[in-house]
Amino acid sequence: MNRTYSTALNAVMVVLGAIGSILWLGATFRSGETYYFWGIWLIVAAAGVYLVRYTLENGRDELLALVRKSLRSVVVPVMGIVVAILIGGVLMAITGYDPIAAYQALFYGGLVRNWHISVLNAAPLIFTALSVAFAFKAGLFNIGAEGQYYLGAMGATWASLYLGLPGIISIPLVFIFAALLGAAWNVVPAFLKVKTGAHEVITTMMLAHVARYLSPVFIRANGGDPATSLHPYVTFEILENNMLPSFSQFMEHANYRVHTGILLAIIVALVINFLLYKTRIGFEIRAVGENKDAARAQGISVGKNIFRALLIAGALAALAGFNQVNGLDHKLFENLQAGYGWNGISVALLAGGNPVGVVFTGLLWGMLDAGGQFMSRTTQTPSAIVEIVKGIILFLVVARYIYTAISQWWKRRKQKQTTAVAAGQA
């Protein structure tokens, strides 16, 4: 096919997808429902353009193969979600709540009524999940993303309190500063892993607790004053030029709290995807993750790539902190149980470590949280049921062997039947 056509179709797809995402993510259903649906349709249209381009380039057989492949990769998570929702329903019924009313409230709240809260929840989760997923690719488990999150939040607050340049220069500087701090926080685990073999699960986990308890010290040094009731456990507000623009600045009806951090998260996810699958660095990191000895035999330095992977993972988790401070709160609260790091692990596992998949699972998790709150408010069902459903989803999705076992059992049964039939005929 002609190259120009291909480029043009690509451009159309990107534009449709971008506008669709902005409309969809920025929409508040209560007043801007048209934007909400327009956004969805535009995203669907972008997907359609992609399929058309793919067919024109590779032919129909390839398209069918692609569809089959993506269906197969989606079927396990979807089955996990459905079964988990059923189990959660049974659990609610046993413990005396109405599962149908609860789930109605959950999905209505999460997808429609409080969609903007889902989006707000998703943004930091996407960042921390990208962090965990990236480390996974190098065969490392960055279980302490929570700690890097605090470092990023502290760095972003500190820089945003004092950096008074125009936003277009200032915000990127804060972004980079937060990322660098997060990366620096992982230097110790990376160093210990390479030099002594200390397991990163323990070192990053312990440093996460350290970072958690450093944040109150930082807050007290930057405006938090337990002696006053005005702001005992919170820093000063950051300078206005360092706040991320909110959707309401360019979209009518958008909720004033929804900020562009979610778009940033999606862009970073795409960049990470590119880094992992299209660059030399990504290739080396994946090679080390797959098989250390083989990578070493190819002349790839294992230590160097462990460093790279953990430092980039630290930077990504720190961006979640940047997102919360510069986008949502505009100050740093003392919150020792933020949990974005821990939840990021689930989101990354659910997406199978795929950076683009993380965007979707992040939105799913954010939706479940927002919907769960709405559900507990309107139907008095404890929102912790959502935590259990999440845990079950995760278990069913990561335990892929269940499905292999089921299909094997099914095949064996079929074989037996056919042999029985054959025997009967004979």
Binding site: T196, T203, M206, V210, V217, L349, P382, I388, F395
Partner: protein, 316 residues
């Protein structure tokens, strides 16, 4: 300021604070010796702590609470065994998922059973009411109050350290468990099921983990608080590694962490140095990192720990 009493108190507190870490660590030793990485310890402890407090509250009997803690810890650990041994799931992934599940489950049941989130209502009788001094021995200065004037689960932890060491190194089953972690194929060849040994290892760690949780909620405390384990399961992992995958080594390492914790509390209370209290809180965590970094090279993990073992069934 630093008197004789201060030091004795510090050492007694060391034992008390190290007990949950000791228990979780010796459980993890058995588990990892059988070849299964158990970072679900945090979740197991949380489940144990929750059910111990609930049963102790409603029955009014802390001993029933203790049994409930052990029982539910074991049940929860079976999930880990099922996922890693039977479903061949990555051990670290399964552990992380179970930790998350435990947090959600206890939160939900908290609202359901207790009626409000946060901290459960105080139990009428705690195990700390059963503190007893062993005659004669408890009179020995320093050692006496440390080891012979304690509460029930602390005594149990002493017994379990000896019992587990004997079990691992002197019994046939212990040998089989160790073989499952060192060379599973060889074990299978002599006709012992690796699956069974690994299930057993995880189950034992679940029971001891549940006991550690019960210690937190009904002996060292009188109620359950959400997330009350606060990273102790991971510190126990560090103790296990620093202790060279040996129950006695793990106990000594746990004592070290308990000492750091006890010291930290005293620094906070007596304001010996004028620093923010958080600096003292992070002290044990920093120490854990240093310990893991410094001692890990000297100890060797079981050869097959963390690896999957799958028996190919012949199709018939």
């Amino acid at each position: 300021m630093i008197t004789f009493d201060f030091i004795v108190n510090l050492l007694v507190a060391t034992i008390r604070l190290s007990t949950p870490i000791t228990l979780a660590a010796i459980g993890a030793v058995i588990c990892e010796r059988s070849g299964i990485v158990n970072i679900a310890m945090e979740g197991i402890m949380l489940i144990g702590a929750f059910f111990a407090a609930i049963v102790a509250f409603y029955s009014g009997n802390p001993w029933l609470g203790l049994l409930a803690g052990i029982f539910f810890g074991a049940i929860f650990s079976l999930l880990h065994a099922f996922a890693t041994v039977s479903l061949h799931l990555d051990h670290v992934v399964s552990g992380a998922v179970l930790n998350i599940l435990a947090l959600g489950l206890t939160r939900y049941l908290m609202v359901l059973i207790v009626g409000h989130p946060g901290t459960s209502d105080p139990i009428p009788v705690g195990l700390s009411d059963y503190q007893f001094a062993i005659p004669v021995l408890s009179r020995i200065p320093v050692i006496g109050p440390m080891f012979f004037n304690q509460t029930p689960i602390v005594y149990m932890s002493f017994v379990l350290i000896i019992l587990f060491t004997w079990f691992l190194f002197k019994t046939k089953t212990g040998l089989h468990i160790r073989s499952a972690g060192e060379h599973p194929l060889a074990l299978e060849t002599i006709g012992v099921s690796v699956y069974k040994m690994r299930y057993l290892g995880v189950l034992v760690s679940g029971m001891v983990g549940g006991l550690a949780g019960a210690y937190l909620s009904i002996e060292n405390n009188v109620s359950f608080t959400e997330g009350m384990t606060n990273g102790r399961g991971f510190i126990a992992m560090a103790a296990m590694i620093s202790g060279g995958w040996h129950p006695v080594g793990a106990f000594l390492a746990a004592l070290f962490f308990g000492f750091a914790d006890a010291l930290q509390v005293r620094f906070q209370v007596f304001k010996i140095v004028d620093l923010p209290e958080e600096v003292f809180i992070i002290f044990p965590y920093v120490l854990t990192v240093i310990a893991v970094a410094g001692l890990v090279r000297k100890s060797r993990p079981p050869k097959a720990v963390g690896t999957d073992f799958m028996i190919e069934r012949s199709e018939d």
